[in-house]
Structure formats: structure tokens, C-alpha cells
Amino acid sequence: MNTDGLDVEDLCLFLEETKEQIEKMEEELLKLENGQEDEESIHCIFRMVHSIKGSSAIMGFEKMTSLSHALENLLAKIREKEMHIDLSVMNISFYAVDLLREMYTNICEGTECNTYIDDILEQINHTLRQDKSHKNAKEEHPSAKEVSSTHKIEIVFDEDVEMKCIKAFQINEILSQIGTISKTTPADFIQVSDENFGDTLVMLFYTEEEDEKIYKQIHSISQLKSVSIKKLQRDTLDKMNEGEKIQENYISKEKSTIRVDINKIDKILNLVGEFITDKENLNQISLHLKKVYKNDVQIHKLLNTLSHINLIGTQLQDIVMSTRMLPLENIFKRFPRMVRDLSLKCNKEIDLIIEGSETEIDRGIIEELVDPITHLLRNAIDHGIEEKHERIQKGKKPIGNLKLSAKSEERHVVITLSDDGCGLDVNKIKRKVLEKGIATEDKLNNLSDKDILYYIFEPGFSTATKVSDISGRGVGLDVVKSNIRQLHGMIDIQTDKGKGTSFIIKLPLTLAISQALIIKEQEYTFALPVYNIIEILRIKNSYTDKRIHKVGEIEIFHWREEAIPLIRVEQYFKIDNLLPTNKASIIIVAVAERKFGFVVNKIVKEQQIVIKSIGDFVGQNKLLGNLEDISGVSILGDGTLAYIMDISSVSRNFNQ
């Protein structure tokens, strides 16, 4: 593979386009397999492969060219209805898509393309050979060693040609039999009327055939005044791509946007984060100065300027955040394929419905969601949805339903994965928990069914009786819990025995900056993300208030006809109470649909915090040890370190 001398811009365009094409191919293959579309999908896949073949040849990615060429031969047979689509053809196609993606990744990372393609080429050829009408499969199989070449073909039509678009189409078809057309001018010639066509058709054509053969093919078409074929050298090609019109259809797409290196955006975000910390710091200093120099004119000017800075800070932050937002489609689109493969493996038929993939979330979060969702999907396919005969016996539809949906809710995104499978069996989970020694029977007896469900997220827990290679090693759901927690998200389970299970993941829109309530307990400062807070109540004496009752070890607060368990932050985090005080505030928070109250001594204020992850320092044998219930830290304006409370973790630990 040789990319020397290629313009970076060209490479970017190529990569962007190829990525889209690979994804589109996969999407259409899935449709094809589901029997949703037939001919149009085949044509579409064919076009994608065809175009990848052409552009990769121009870019000099030989393996990609060889593979797409081989795949194209296979698809051509299908398109011409000389071959049927069966499972083996589908599997080969999916495999080829995987390999193309691997090559794409290699190219992206600038590494040598090591993808081994001999096997798949052999598989494709084998399939083609089986087809009797295809006698010369081997000849059509291009080897990476063969000299490949790109030609610039200029065809001038006779003056009196009518329906030039059709003439162009004929030439296109006839040349496609012996090679690949990568670009044409006019670009989308089918749409061009005779008046706008001009009299010349220019094509970039890649073939292994001799010029003579190209001439012969073209001359089977009538009414052509002249045909010129030039073999392009590498550097000519580059120059051409830089300047010539041939690229105009790509460039016009890019008009209103520019591509920016994500590192730059991250850097801007970091700077905005620091700016906000300083801004909060300035606000504090100014409050102090205001008290001291009440009557100074300059102070008022300072305060005015500061309020403007605050405004700008908020806008700046919003804009930078929005540039980091990506639609969930970016990761959702890979799941249909996964579900397809897994359900085949499990011998189950499953329909995956995806909704709300346009919902946007911070790009830092999006990639971290792949693993948890993958595990939950696997779990649903492997353990949730029953086998066909079992479903029929239960009177369910034989095809299982999986629904992955996303929606925005104020400052967070809710992702729900529901299946219509067998549901979670609380008794089974109980038995498993005891069997594995995760909890004692006494403890379990005190827990509600809902709390017991959460044990499936415990390390080492697995309800599957036999270990399969899909899920069932007891690692999957544990990963879900830790990943979602890392993202400051919450996860909730709703299950209906025999009818299905839903996992509800609630995530903040962004990780880096958050609005939080600052709480002080003795010398410790905590930050409580506001999106969890429902209400704040001040009470005179937390020990005598009539709304608080003790039920066993737990204090219950009566709030709006609900009984809410209370957590005294001081006690919970085992902070020595040096200055006892009765005054307190109760902060009602919600995690998914669970509510509880924090009893805190002092609420400082609400402010924006820049979250710094402490993930690398937390855990057994790590710097900070096992810091459960703390999801990160933030440096406040005055330099204090605030611990960001992980409310979902507190809620779980508290209940256990």
C-alpha cells in the first residue's frame, strides 16, 4: 500500500466516503436478509462496492480494490439473477464488509493494511465456480500483484446525438463490464438534460485491460465523434484531483461545514472548563471585594464586567458543548448487524427496532456506551428472548422483539432497551445470589424484589445455567454497571415475568461540565449534580422533626405522601461530627424512579463545576482506594476540592 504523494484532503474525502459506503452496504445487506428490500438493495450494495473499488484503486489501496472487485463479481451474478442469495452468500458478503471496515480502520490509523484477504477471495471464487454459468471465475479474480491502472477517457459525441444521458449510461454500462468508473463529468449524468450536457463525457476508469479493449468496448456505441484514452500516472492523478472539476460534486457538499480536528475541540473545551473555574473564582473574589469597598465606583464596573463574563461563559460553554454532540445513530447503527449475527448463532429469530437514533449526546459518552449496550443486547438475545418453539408454546409471536430507543429529557438522555422475552425471575436471581455467596439469606429477605434484581449487575453473577460464548460468563452486566457509573449515568430495570425486561439508562448530556449543588460537611465539600435533585427543604431540627420516623435502622421522611428513606451524608461518609448541629437541609433526589433524601448540614450554593475523572485512581490497590459513591472531583473557584457524589451508587449501596 502506498499513499505517498496523496493529498491529505483527498484521503479525507476518500475515507469519509468509504466509511459511509461500508455502513450503507451493511445496512442494505441487513435489509436484504430481512427480506425487506430486494432489487433496490442489491443495486445499492453493488453501487457501493463498485465505487469503493474505483476510489480505492485511485488511492492505491490494492487489497481493498481486490476485495471489492471480487465482491462485485459475486454481486453482479446476483444482480443478473444468475445466482440466488443464500445464507452462504450473505455470510460472505457480511464477512467482506467486515474486512473492508478493517482495512478502512487500518488506513485511518495510518498503519499498513495487514488484512488477510486470500481466504475470502477464495470463498468468493468458490461460490462463483459452483455457479455453472460462470466458467471463468478465476480470470475475473484480480490479484493484488497485477498492474492496475487508471485511465482518463474523453469521449466527444456527434453533434446530433439525442438523449446524451442515455448514451453516457450505455458507455458507463459497457465499460463497467471490464473495469470500474470512479468519476464522471458531468457527475450525475442521468439527470443532465441534452442542453446542459455539452458534447463531452469524461470518465476516470480503472481497468486491467489493454487500451485496445477499452476502445473496442466504447466503439460498440454509435454516434461518437472521438474517443481518447490516457493512462494516468500517479502524480497526474493527484494534480487532477486537486484542481479539476471532477471533484466538484464532493466539494459542493462541504460548503456549509468545515472539518475540525477533534483534538482542537477538546482543547477548546478544556480551556472553557478552566475559564469557568476562573470565572467562579472571580465571582467569589468580587463578592468579597464588594463587601470591603462598598462605595468604590471601580467595584461596580468590575461587577458589571463580571456579569458580562458570566453570560459569555455560559454561551461559550453551550456552543462548545454542541460541537461535541453526536447523534446516537453513530453507535446504534452497528447493532442491527450484531443482533443479526447473534440471533443466527442462538438460532432465534429477532426483530430489532431502533428509535430516536437522532438523539444527540456528548461524543465522549457515545463511545463509552457501545460496551454496555452491546452487553445488554447480548444478554437479551441470549437469556431474555426464548427460542422459537418455547415462544410458540407460551402463545407469543415466534419472532422475538428487541427495542432500542433513545430520547432527550432536559439535561439528560434516556436510552431504553426492551425485550419481549421471559423476563427476570426474582427467585432464580435469589438462588443464584445465595449459591455464589454474594449475599446472605437474611439480607435478601429484607430486600424488595426490585432491589434483588440489581444483583444481576454484581461481578460474578450469571443466571445462565450453561456458559455460552455470547454471554453468560458473568462478566457482561457487571461491565454495564461500571461503565454507566463512569458516565455518571443511572440504570434501572423493569421486568415482567414472562413478558419481558426493560433496561433504562439515563445519562447526562455531557460529562465535562455540570451544574451542581455544593454541600459542606465539616471540612469536606461535596458536589451533588442538580439533574438528580427534585426538591430542597430546610428543617429546623433533623432529630425532632415530626416528619421523620425511624423504621428499623432506616430513617423515613414523609414527603408529599411518599415515604422517602433518608441518608445522613455525615454518617454515610463517616465524617467525624466535630460541631454538632441540628439545623439541616433535606435534599430529595431521584435515581431513575427511586427517590431518597440526603440530610446535609450546609448547602453552600449552586454552581457550574468542571468534572475531573478520578477513575484511574479509584479501586483496590489504587491511590484513593475503594472510593465507592464518588464519581469524580472538581476544583472549585476558591481552590477547594469537591467530591462529586455518585447518587446512583449511593442509592444502591444504601439499600443493600
Binding site: 439525442e162 438523449m163 444521458c165 442515455i166 449510461f169 450505455q170 454500462e173 442521468i190 473496442k216 466503439h219 460498440s220 456505441i221 454509435s222 454516434q223
Partner: protein, 120 residues
């Protein structure tokens, strides 16, 4: 070398037939619609078919598809009126080797016939 002329207008068929004969081509037969065209094709085995598009009973595009099923190597030239790009496109996709737009000069027709016969 024999030609089959397919057109629903008797006058057009007669006109083409006469012009071709004047230029030493053999006209094997004529058909007035798509169905007849398929029958005549099997019966006469012409080397070139001139096919109109809009015809009763069966249109030209369908007839081309059917003939191509019988003989994948059939050489068919579509004769179309102006402004029927989409039909011509369908005909080409169905397997017509070439097209010619009415009204045309006899030389153009002859050029097309020779062209499709020369190239397999």
C-alpha cells in the same frame, strides 16, 4: 442478415421496410405489438429487431425483456419518440443494444443496425 420491424403503425412499418429494402437489407417480418413481436422473433430468428416502445397489448420494454429471456444475445434497437428518455432508459436496462429517436434519417438507422451487428 434479417430484420424484424415492430411498430403498431402499419404506415411506419411499411416506410421502414421500404427504406431498408432499398439499402439491400432483408426484412424478415413485421409485428404490430409486443406479443406478436415475441412470436415472430421465435419464428423468424432475425439478427436485428427494431422495436417501438408504445404499443397495444404489450409494450416494447416488456417485449424486450421477454425476448432477452428467450435469447440473451438478441440485438434490439429501440425506436422512440422525442422526450421519452425514461422509457428509452428502461429499454436499455432491459437489454436493448441501442436506440434511435424518431423522426430519423435512413442513414442513422442503417448506422445503428450495422453497429449492433458488428459488436457482439
Amino acid at each position: 442478415m434479417g430484420i424484424l420491424i415492430v411498430d403498431d403503425a402499419v404506415f411506419v412499418r411499411a416506410d421502414i421496410s421500404r427504406k431498408l429494402k432499398q439499402n439491400d437489407f432483408t426484412v424478415l417480418g413485421e409485428a404490430g405489438d409486443g406479443l406478436e413481436a415475441i412470436e415472430k422473433y421465435q419464428e423468424l430468428k432475425p439478427s436485428v429487431v427494431l422495436m417501438d416502445i408504445t404499443m397495444p397489448k404489450m409494450d416494447g420494454v416488456t417485449a424486450i425483456k421477454e425476448i432477452k429471456k428467450i435469447d440473451p444475445n438478441a440485438k434490439i434497437i429501440v425506436c422512440s419518440a422525442m422526450g421519452q428518455e425514461s422509457f428509452v432508459m428502461k429499454a436499455i436496462q432491459a437489454g436493448a443494444k441501442s436506440y434511435i429517436i424518431k423522426p430519423y434519417k435512413t442513414e442513422r438507422l442503417i448506422e445503428e443496425i450495422i453497429k449492433v451487428q458488428l459488436h457482439q
